[in-house]
Each structure stands twice: as structure tokens, then as C-alpha cells.
């Protein structure tokens, strides 16, 4: 339904030089009231895309509407709160004065400053200079600045950077709460666990394109089978001939991760035992966002 999409991009492209394609025909749609996760490896074009949504970077081609307006127009910006990359503020001003400056630029009354400082638990340090803040405090001030306009759309780029585990949990809780009702949150993060806990839908970005977009359940569809066997190389050879078995990946010295439906577990077990392979463990595993991400982006799997 028109109007339900807060961000709509069509073939959005940013080319820096003829051979540097930062964003390559990005098609994405963020719906009103959802927390949309933007995930991709370093250099995938996530931050450039976020900057394009905010009008900081101009598109080379393609189109984009943010809250129904062209990116960067005062009408759109008045309804957007953003934290892009590292939180940047005037180091010689206090946190509170930094927010005063931004409130002036945003046309927001000073009365909004105290509530947002309280929301990010920075009231007691609000009069300290920004340059004295820890990384976590800077991140929280960035969050306060993003909330200053009580925005319809929050664009957050790695908002938990620099936070300790407790701070990360609080930030996740805050973002989850902010994403309710009419407010939409577009969240970019490398942390799969974080995205899994917060997001309603995810767009996986690779080489400037969305390679897959969907709800968490849609993305995590399917299972894998974890198998411990000896000799593992022989087991791998045998599995290659079995219908329904996708890629197999070796872990440790005797472990295989097999892309296959759980219904094949018995067949796999029978095949291997019959061939004289010792099977000491065979379990089905639900796909995690991380495994989906790694398989889609071709990143090396470091551990399960």
C-alpha cells in the first residue's frame, strides 16, 4: 500500500569513479513501524546507502524516497533522527550544549533536551565537555541527538559500538522499544546476534546490492546437519553422492556441517554406517542469521 514504505529505493547507485561502485542498484523497502536491519560485510556500501537516504551523498543514478520526500530535503530531515558512523559533536561544548546547538538547527524546543538526556541516562554528565566522554557516553549522546526531533524514522549506524555488554543490552532494549508504533528504525550493524534480537526484517547487502531481504523467519528457513564422523574425509565423499545434500563444510578434524533438510538425517546415518564410517554425533541445527549471512556474502565461517 502506498505510504506504508518509509524508505523506498529503486536501483539506487553511487559510483565514485568509473571503477568504484559503492552502491550498485540498491532496491530496498523499509515499512512503517518496523525495525529494519541492514547487514553486510565491511565495504558493502551500507554506510554510503545510509548517507544517501539522509541526502549527505547524492545518487549517481536510481531513485529514492524517504518518508515520501527526496532525501535531504528539510521536510524529510525534520522527521528523521540519525546516528551515522561515529557520533560527532563539538568537543569543547558540553553534551547539553551540543544538543542545544542541534536543537536550534532542527527547530526543536530546548524542552526536548532533558527528556532525551534522561532516556539515554546522560543527565548527570550533561554539563561535562564532550571531549571528556567515554566512547559509550559519546554513543549515548549520539542516540540522544537522534531522538531530539522525536523522529518518525531513526537511522542508526552501528549504535552499540563502544558500549559494554550491559550498555549494549540497554541500547538493544531502547531500540526495540523505539521501533514500536509508527516509528521505523533502520539499523545497520555487523553484530548478527544484535540484529536477530532487535529486527523485524533484514536486508543483507553485498557489493552495494541487497542480496536477500526478508523477515528473520524467512531468512533463517531451513536447517543444517552437524555430523561427527571418522574418517571424516570418507564421510564427506559419501555425502556428495546423496540427493538433497548441499554444501558440506569441514570443522575441526572430525566435524562436518551439512546443508540438508533434517528429514535426511536418518538416510545420512544409514549411508555412513553401512559404508563403515563411525558416526559419533548427528544433530540438526536451525540456521542462524550469521550462517545465512556468511553463506550469502561468501565470508569465511570462523566458528559455529
Amino acid at each position: 500500500m502506498p505510504g506504508d514504505f518509509v524508505i523506498e529505493s529503486e536501483n539506487l547507485t553511487k559510483r565514485y569513479r568509473p571503477h568504484i561502485m559503492a552502491v550498485d542498484g540498491l532496491n530496498m523497502q523499509a515499512r512503517r513501524g518496523e525495525v529494519y536491519g541492514f547487514v553486510g560485510p565491511n565495504g558493502a556500501g551500507k554506510t554510503t546507502a545510509l548517507r544517501m537516504f539522509l541526502g549527505l551523498v547524492r545518487a549517481s543514478s536510481g531513485s529514492c524516497l524517504v518518508l515520501g520526500e527526496k532525501p535531504g530535503t528539510p521536510g524529510a530531515l525534520a522527521r528523521i533522527g540519525a546516528l551515522v558512523e561515529t557520533p560527532a559533536f563539538y568537543p569543547y561544548l558540553s553534551g547539553r550544549n551540543n544538543l542545544r546547538v542541534l536543537a536550534r538547527h532542527a527547530g526543536v524546543p530546548y524542552s526536548r533536551i532533558e527528556p532525551v538526556l534522561e532516556e539515554v541516562e546522560l543527565s548527570s554528565r550533561g554539563d561535562d565537555r564532550f571531549k571528556t566522554y567515554s566512547l559509550g557516553m559519546k554513543q549515548r549522546l549520539g542516540m540522544a541527538a537522534a531522538l531530539l526531533k522525536d523522529p518518525e524514522l531513526l537511522i542508526l549506524d552501528e549504535p552499540t559500538n563502544g558500549l559494554d555488554p550491559a550498555g549494549m543490552a540497554e541500547m538493544r532494549h531502547l531500540i526495540r522499544n523505539l521501533g514500536h508504533g509508527n516509528r521505523t528504525v533502520l539499523l545497520s550493524s555487523h553484530l548478527m546476534g544484535e540484529l536477530e534480537q532487535i529486527c523485524d526484517r533484514i536486508g543483507v547487502v553485498k557489493d552495494g546490492k541487497i542480496v536477500v531481504e526478508g523477515s528473520l523467519d524467512e531468512l533463517r528457513q531451513g536447517t543444517r546437519i552437524k555430523l561427527r564422523a571418522k574418517p571424516v574425509v570418507r564421510a564427506r565423499e559419501l555425502l556428495a553422492s546423496l540427493d538433497g545434500v548441499g554444501q558440506t563444510e569441514m570443522q575441526d578434524d572430525d566435524m562436518l556441517i551439512i546443508e540438508a533438510d533434517q528429514s535426511l538425517a536418518a538416510d545420512i546415518n544409514r549411508l555412513l554406517v553401512t559404508a563403515g564410517v563411525d558416526v559419533s554425533e548427528l544433530t540438526t541445527v536451525q540456521n542462524s542469521l550469521e550462517s545465512v549471512f556468511l553463506s550469502l556474502t561468501g565470508e569465511v565461517r570462523s566458528h559455529e
Binding site: 541526502g55 561515529t86 550544549n97 542541534l102 536550534r104 538547527h105 532542527a106
Partner: protein, 279 residues
């Protein structure tokens, strides 16, 4: 108006603004009053001693104090202009501010307006302290304290502001082009303190450079204050100028055109250029 207030808050709260203001007034007083008066009191029989005292009296405030504007004042506010704009790139605050409600042009013009207001005290304070210094000298030397005419004062204050505005907007342009402060300050100082002086000096021998120097900020600055009745400092001293001057009207037009060009070109770049993570 809100954006202008925000930018004024930034300038007012920044220590560098006050340091530059203090340094500039100290230098202006030192070279306009303190050193000349010291020379006057230390050497009791040199040729033209009476003229030295005459120049230091309050009625000559305009012609004495304005000689410091094209050189020392210009350099100080060039740094101020660079810091105001270039720090936005250094600290990454350009991104933070541009995602607020204002358009880029409104943000930039607010910054320019704030800078234009900020240089008013740079002009006023030097004149006030110049008057205080010259009055002290007059009292010590049993001379009458007479102010220049109001018209002369208004003209001098306006010219002072105009000269500082030209250099400050030049600083803004350098900061925008270099996306920071360090290179902009370096280039600005080399240009202002060295390059223009060299071109003016060689202009006495090379006709082409003489013509070029007539279009430079410093030449037109000295020409403008010369039109107010100021005598341009000798070439050997700090801030000295040895080049050819132009008429007051021509200098006024050139300075105004410089300001407009610097601001317009900076605004164009700010409006058109992407604000990426590295900027």
C-alpha cells in the same frame, strides 16, 4: 534565526575565538602604540620626533589603528574563518548538523552570518583599546584628548570590518576546499604573509606582477585604508607594504567582490559536494 543563534553559540563558546581576539588586539596595540611610543620616549632627539607623537594622539586614531588591519588583522580572522568552517570537517560535525532540519545553504549562510557578527568585536575592541592607549599617551605628554570626527570613525570601522570580512571569508573558502583546518591555515598564512608580499615587491621591477598585485587582497586593503588618510607602514617593518596602491573606490569594489566570490564559491561547494565519512 535559530541556526544563526546556534552558530553564534559555537563561536562564543570556543576558546580559540577569544585567544585570537586577544592576540590580535595585543599585536595591534603593540605595533600601533606601544613600540612607537617606546621609540619616542627612548630617543629624545631624532628627526621627525614630533610627527611620531602627533600620530599617536587620539585625533589620529583612525589613521594609526587601521594600518594594522590589512596584515595582522587579516591573518587573525583568516584563522578564525578557517576554524569556524574547517573544524566541521575535522570533527565530523558537518554530518551531525546537516542531518538536522536545515538545508545545506541555510546552514552555511548561518555560519557566514555568525562569522560576520563575530568579527565586529575584532574591529571594535581594537579601536576602543587604541583610543585608551592614545589617550594615555596624550595625558602623559600633556596633549589634548580629541576624538576623530564621527564620520571618520564610522568609515574606519566599516573599512576595518570589510577588510576582516574579506580575509575571514577567504579562510572559509580555504577550509571548504581543503575539508579541514591544518592545510587551510598553512596555505592562508603563506599566501597572506609571504606570497602577496613577494608579488608586491617584485611588482616594482616587473610590470606584469605590478598589475597582478593591484588585484590582491593586501594591495586593495592598504589602498582602502590609505583612502582614509592612513600612511602605509614602511616596507621593512612587520606588515610593511611597498607595492603600488589603487584608488579608494577601486579598492572598495575589489574587496566587496572578493567577499562575494569567496562566500558564493564556498556555498556552491558546500551545497554540491558529497559529505562522505572521510570529509
Amino acid at each position: 534565526m535559530n541556526s544563526l543563534l546556534a552558530e553564534l553559540l559555537l563561536i562564543r563558546r570556543r576558546a580559540a575565538t577569544w585567544i585570537l581576539l586577544g592576540f590580535w588586539t595585543a599585536i595591534a596595540l603593540l605595533f600601533s602604540y606601544v613600540l612607537p611610543y617606546y621609540a619616542y620616549t627612548a630617543n629624545t632627539n631624532f628627526h621627525g620626533r614630533g610627527i611620531v607623537l602627533y600620530v599617536l594622539l587620539p585625533q589620529n586614531l583612525v589613521s594609526t589603528i587601521t594600518t594594522t588591519f590589512p596584515f595582522f588583522g587579516g591573518t587573525m580572522v583568516l584563522i578564525l574563518g578557517v576554524l569556524c568552517m574547517g573544524s566541521e570537517y575535522n570533527w565530523g560535525t558537518l554530518t551531525t548538523v546537516l542531518v538536522q532540519r536545515d538545508g545545506r545553504l541555510k546552514f552555511f549562510l548561518s555560519k557566514i552570518a555568525a562569522l560576520a557578527i563575530a568579527i565586529v568585536p575584532f574591529v571594535l575592541l581594537v579601536f576602543v583599546l587604541g583610543f585608551v592607549a592614545s589617550s594615555i599617551i596624550a595625558l602623559r605628554e600633556d596633549q589634548a584628548i580629541m576624538l576623530p570626527s564621527m564620520w571618520d570613525l564610522v568609515r574606519a570601522l566599516s573599512v576595518g570590518w570589510l577588510l576582516l570580512a574579506a580575509w575571514a571569508s577567504f579562510g572559509v573558502l580555504l577550509a571548504v576546499l581543503s575539508k579541514g583546518t591544518a592545510l587551510a591555515i598553512g596555505l592562508g598564512i603563506i599566501y597572506g604573509l609571504v606570497l602577496e608580499g613577494i608579488i608586491s615587491s617584485f611588482g616594482q621591477q616587473i610590470d606584469l606582477l605590478d598589475q597582478v598585485s593591484k588585484g590582491l587582497l593586501r594591495t586593495n586593503g592598504y589602498s582602502l585604508i590609505s583612502a582614509l588618510g592612513s600612511s602605509i607602514p614602511a616596507e621593512a617593518g612587520p606588515g610593511g607594504f611597498s607595492g603600488t596602491t589603487v584608488s579608494g573606490t577601486q579598492a572598495l569594489i575589489v574587496i566587496v567582490v572578493y567577499i562575494l566570490l569567496f562566500v558564493a564559491f564556498s556555498a556552491l561547494v558546500v551545497k554540491r559536494r558529497d559529505v562522505s565519512g572521510t570529509s
